[in-house]
């Protein structure tokens, strides 16, 4: 062996590694409990992923296309889907709105040499939290029961809304 220090240290590393491997195996075989909705969903087989792309007709503001993708036809109502995307678009428009509050924030930031960004949460970030909550709520109420999962666009760099379609294993899911 290398030396006393090396031995102790390597033992620590190996035991730590074993802990991690065990927890990973436990997760994989569903032995560990307290999963979130997303973890449970990942045990189900992913049939397909649909990507809703950005809509640039109004410039560089963050808007998503409301065109209903054909893969979702059997899973969800078109109205429901369009409603979700339209609400998301409205929320993003609110985040990027050029209005009194954003100007105030901008001017105040300029006067303080932009140091307030280090301590204050910006308006955009507050709306992003609202969006995250909305997506969670939509997933719980509407999409999860139909075997779908919406991914928050911020996790994909605001490029796409990723909808994961899971294999439909349940017997009566209203097909």
């Amino acid at each position: 062996m290398v030396g006393l220090c090396g031995t102790t240290w390597s033992t620590q590393i190996v035991s730590g590694l074993l802990d991690v491997l065990y927890s990973e195996l436990a997760t994989a075989f569903n032995m560990a409990e307290t999963h979130s909705l997303q973890d449970i969903r990942q045990q189900a087989a992913i049939a397909a992923k649909v990507f809703i792309q950005r809509d640039y007709t109004n410039g560089t503001v963050c808007q998503f296309q409301t065109k209903f993708p054909s893969e979702l036809e059997t899973r969800i109502d078109k109205q429901q889907f369009e409603e979700t995307v339209r609400t998301l678009n409205n929320l993003y428009a609110e985040a990027e709105k050029l209005g009194g509050q954003s100007y105030l924030e901008g001017c105040l930031a300029c006067l303080t040499a932009y140091t307030i960004f280090l301590c204050m949460e910006t308006h955009y970030e507050k709306v992003l939290k609202k969006i995250a909550k909305y997506i969670q709520e939509q997933n719980d109420k509407i999409y999860a029961p139909r075997g779908l999962l919406l991914t928050d666009p911020i996790e994909r760099g605001l490029r796409v809304v990723e909808i994961t379609i899971f294999e439909d294993r349940s017997t009566g899911s209203g097909r």
Partner: protein
């Protein structure tokens, strides 16, 4: 020494006992604690303070910029301010101080802020886009499908190009910086003076930096000229003024520097800076007022040179005030790359399996810088 010992004891040591494998060690430590996303970032950037600060791979001439500003301002405060406070007004160091602080803070913010980097497309997303491109181009069998997409923005046709590195169609006004190897939103230019790209998120910092720097250099230039003028009035002309040596400054300073040479240094630096910085500020003021980027201006995207006639900037509000407000006082977009988020455990796991062999010789490796080893570590593709 440790390595020699190791070789002697175990001649059947693995063939690569070299420190090219340290990153897996660090990854190993992180596996226990989960890796942060900045550690697997594919672009050419460096991260400090556990992902809070981001800079480009080459710092360019940022140390020179900082050095010039600091040295000139320090010389100004030491050698010119006392004279001017005595003969003019005590507001001078106050104004100088405020401008100096503003300049340094704006510079550091421009350098250390994420300019608006777009994260690269994940494998599923990239495959989906490829499929769409193939479907679109399936009619033409002789040539590969064009990797451009046309969109209509405010009744203006804009071509979106496909980025082969980031595997996505670039949003409008986004460009790929070859120095940083990232797509940056509203890409203006890569500034070597600042050591970072200038894009959507740090354009306002960059603009306030160059404007405040032009005020600072003009102010110092004015003060130094006034100082020399006042000294030469009292004596036998400007040569006499430059030859005067200060009697009241501390001895070490007199040995290495004396007032005339410092004043001359300041004068030269400020003279050349004022014209170039003022010019740059003027140019960027024009860009802000017409809601253009340097990239678009250079390429002539909207001026009709390379495009068709009648092409106008679709992003402009056609109102100078609105454009300025939108660019400088608009809402601050968040960073899209989430540097300090944690990687999902499945991505950390492959790194764990690589560390069996090096784990025994890691004593030296732990001390190695864990931040600069992005090249050596096997980055897990996002």
């Amino acid at each position: 020494m440790k390595n020699c010992e190791y070789h002697q004891i175990d001649p059947q040591a693995p063939s690569t006992p070299n420190p090219t494998l340290p990153p897996p060690i660090n990854a190993n430590k992180k596996v226990i604690r989960a890796r942060r996303k900045w550690q697997a970032f594919p672009g050419r950037n460096r991260f400090y303070c556990d992902g809070r600060i981001i800079v480009a791979r080459q710092s360019g001439v940022l140390p020179l910029t900082l050095g010039l500003i600091l040295v000139t301002s320090t010389l100004f405060f030491i050698f010119d301010c006392p004279f001017l406070v005595e003969h003019l007004t005590s507001c001078i160091p106050v104004i100088g101080g405020v401008l100096f602080v503003f300049v340094v803070i704006s510079l550091l913010q421009t350098s250390f802020t994420d300019p608006g980097i777009l994260p690269r497309a994940g494998p599923d997303e990239a495959a989906d886009i490829e499929r769409q491109i193939d479907n679109a181009g399936s009619s033409s069998s002789y040539r590969p499908p064009p990797r451009t997409k046309e969109v209509l923005i405010h009744q203006q046709v804009v071509k979106l190009k496909y980025c082969f590195t980031c595997k996505m169609f670039r949003p409008p006004r986004t460009s790929h910086c070859s120095l940083c190897d990232n797509c940056v939103e509203r890409f203006d230019h890569h500034c070597p003076w600042v050591g970072n790209c200038v894009g959507k998120r740090n354009y306002r910092f960059f603009y306030s930096f160059i404007v405040s720097l032009s005020f600072l250099t003009a102010f110092i230039f004015g003060c130094v000229t006034t100082h020399l003028a006042m000294r030469s009035q009292g004596g036998k002309g400007i040569i006499f003024a430059l030859q005067q040596s200060p009697a009241r400054y501390p001895l070490p300073l007199i040995i290495f520097l004396d007032s005339p040479s410092c004043t001359a240094i300041e004068l030269v630096v400020c003279f050349f800076s004022v014209w170039s910085i003022l010019g740059l500020s003027g140019f960027h003021t024009y860009l802000v007022a017409s809601n253009l980027t340097t990239n678009e201006d250079i390429k002539g995207s909207w001026s009709g040179k390379s495009g068709s006639e009648g092409s106008r900037n679709p992003y402009s509000y056609n109102n100078i005030f609105m454009n300025c407000c939108a660019v400088l006082c608009g809402p601050m977009p968040p960073s899209l790359i989430d540097r300090r988020g944690f990687l999902p455990p499945e991505e950390a796991l492959p790194a764990a399996t690589e560390i069996d062999l090096p784990s025994l010789e890691a004593k030296n490796d732990i001390n190695m810088c864990r931040q600069g080893f992005r090249d050596l570590s096997p980055p897990v593709p996002l």
